[in-house]
């Protein structure tokens, strides 16, 4: 047998010192602009002392006073729990239903008009309806989140499952791979890039709906607190809630990035090889 050579896969292998330099650089990029903006804001707010904008120091103080301690467990943790449950339920339902619909042409033609109808309904208008049925409970809020966040996962899964490569499908058939095996080793991995795109969109929708679902009929939660502070002219506290929501968004994006890079290592590898 002859010797064959491997195609060199581009690897970012550099010296040890340059790794530190690069880490420093990326930290600078990540925090540079926020720091500049905070600086400008501090100068502006101190100079003009606006009515509806606290200084960074005031905001930081209000942030610690408002969210560290009791409120963390009474407002933040329940909100984030509902958010987490809502996201996980959206992913589970979206992938399960999406796979079924994606695999069956009959089912697809049957449910697509219904999907279009329900997708067009803005989830916040369902708050009164579901509250009447289930009361002002955690379930109501989770359902509101799922009603909005399930769609991107569902629709992307359908497309991803439908788009399975024909040669890959024929390969599975010719090796007589069982339907369940085919699902796990072909259909779902092949659809995973699309599913991940859907999940990314679902996460931002879920965060929005988490806040909205807490703005009425509740006495706790992040959304409720922000509305409460607004109605009582607690400007710095109100802004601190908004800052906290921003931080939650950043945290979600970070978690998503780590999971995505692990699950789609092959996908990024293929893309990188194609680019040469």
């Amino acid at each position: 047998m002859s010797v064959v050579n491997t195609v060199k896969v581009p690897k970012t292998r550099r010296g040890k010192r340059s790794l530190w330099v690069r880490m420093g650089e990326s930290t600078l990029y990540a925090f540079g602009l926020p720091l500049i903006l905070i600086g400008l804001w501090a100068v502006w707010a101190t100079a003009t002392s606006p009515k509806f904008f606290p200084t960074p120091a005031e905001l930081a103080e209000a942030f610690v006073d408002t969210w560290v301690g009791k409120s963390f467990f009474e407002d933040v943790v329940p909100s984030l729990t509902r958010l987490g449950v809502g996201i996980i339920a959206s992913i589970a339902v979206g992938i399960a239903v999406g796979t079924l619909v994606g695999l069956s042409r009959v089912l697809r033609e049957l449910v697509e008009p219904i999907f279009e109808f329900f997708r067009a309904i803005p989830p916040p208008v369902m708050i009164p309806v579901i509250t009447v049925i289930l009361g002002a409970t955690d379930s109501t809020k989770v359902i509101i989140i799922v009603l909005g966040a399930v769609w991107p996962v569902l629709l992307n899964t359908i497309d991803g499952v439908r788009g399975t490569d024909s040669v890959m499908k024929e390969t599975a058939r010719s090796f007589r791979i069982t339907p369940i095996q085919r699902l796990w080793s072909l259909v779902l991995p092949a659809a995973m890039p699309r599913i991940m795109t859907g999940i990314r969109q679902a996460m931002s929708i879920a965060l929005i709906l988490m806040v909205i679902s807490e703005m009425s009929n509740t006495s706790a939660g992040l959304g409720n607190r922000i509305v409460y502070f607004q109605r009582n002219y607690l400007v710095a506290e109100m802004w601190s809630g908004i800052a906290l929501l921003g931080l939650v968004g950043v945290l979600l994006a970070l978690i998503f990035g780590i999971v995505e890079r692990r699950m789609l290592r092959w996908y990024h590898g293929v893309k990188e090889t194609e680019r040469g």
């Binding site: 050579n5 491997t6 024909s166 390969t171 069982t178 080793s185």
Partner: protein
């Protein structure tokens, strides 16, 4: 000695569509014995892939039958493995080399040791031992096709069906892969049905060459390649007999292209 393995009888395939029907295959009949290496050549667009998919049980013929060991093929048969032309789309990029080779074994209830032995053996056979943990996309085209061949070998089929497997690799890699196919045939006694559009390749590899007409397709000629079983890229290709056979097949394919050959029916 010559035991029949594969029989194609009056195979016909018509593609129906809204714009009308297209007859891809008119009437193909041929036989293949156990342990034979048969090449199928024909002008481009003559329905080679259609024929192969019918044989592999991936496509239902309009009329006629394909039999393996006397049993009619209606679904992909257990004792046949297919190597596709598009290795890039046939290998699963989310699985490692090992995972891809293991794929057809996963649903077979095999003891772990046995499974490992089969995988090792298949990778060894194609010269990829030690590449287990690479991903297909980290390998060159020729090596990816080796992985696909190893996967087919691991499935332990009676007959290996290959659809223009080396059409997308460069000439030098191609020569190596041709010798690999010869080695699988010689050392493991594998029956191989090899579809190609390359005339030289068909004569170099085959013990028989089946020349197809242009579409709608029928078997224009069935040629026995009377070259010694030990073949070598340099000396075999330099033999006067090789040139004769090559010229003969070439003329047949040219006639097929021009549609000159008339079916004796």
């Amino acid at each position: 000695m010559a035991e029949n393995l594969l029989t194609v009888t009056n195979l016909k395939k018509v593609y129906e569509s809204s714009t009308g029907s297209v007859e891809a295959i008119a009437d193909i009949s041929f036989e293949m014995n156990r342990g034979e290496l048969v090449c199928i050549v024909g002008p481009s667009g003559c329905g080679k892939t259609t024929l192969l998919k019918c044989i592999a049980g991936l496509l239902k013929p309009t009329a006629g039958t394909v039999r393996i060991d006397g049993t009619e093929v209606t679904a992909p048969p257990r004792n046949m493995a297919v190597v596709f032309q598009e290795y890039g789309r046939s290998l699963y990029p989310w699985l490692t080399v090992r995972g891809n080779v293991e794929l057809p074994l996963r649903h077979q209830k095999l003891p772990k040791d046995e499974r490992n032995r089969i995988i090792e053996d298949a990778l060894e056979a194609v010269g990829l031992a030690g590449k287990h943990d690479s991903y297909p996309w980290q390998l060159s085209g020729g090596m990816q096709q080796r992985v696909a061949i190893a996967r087919a070998v691991a499935y332990q089929p009676e007959v290996l069906v290959m659809d223009e497997p080396f059409a997308a690799v460069d000439a030098q890699t191609r020569a190596d892969l041709e010798d690999l196919v010869r080695a699988l045939h010689r050392d493991r006694g594998m029956s191989i049905l090899f579809v190609t559009h390359d005339i030289d390749e068909s004569v170099y590899l085959g013990e028989r060459v089946v020349v197809l007409s242009s579409s709608p397709t029928w078997v224009q000629e069935d040629i026995t390649v009377d070259l010694a079983p030990e073949r070598d890229q340099i000396s075999t290709r330099a033999l006067p007999r090789f040139t004769e056979l090559r010229t003969h097949v070439y003329q047949q394919v040219q006639r097929a292209k021009r549609g000159e050959a008339v079916r004796a029916s």
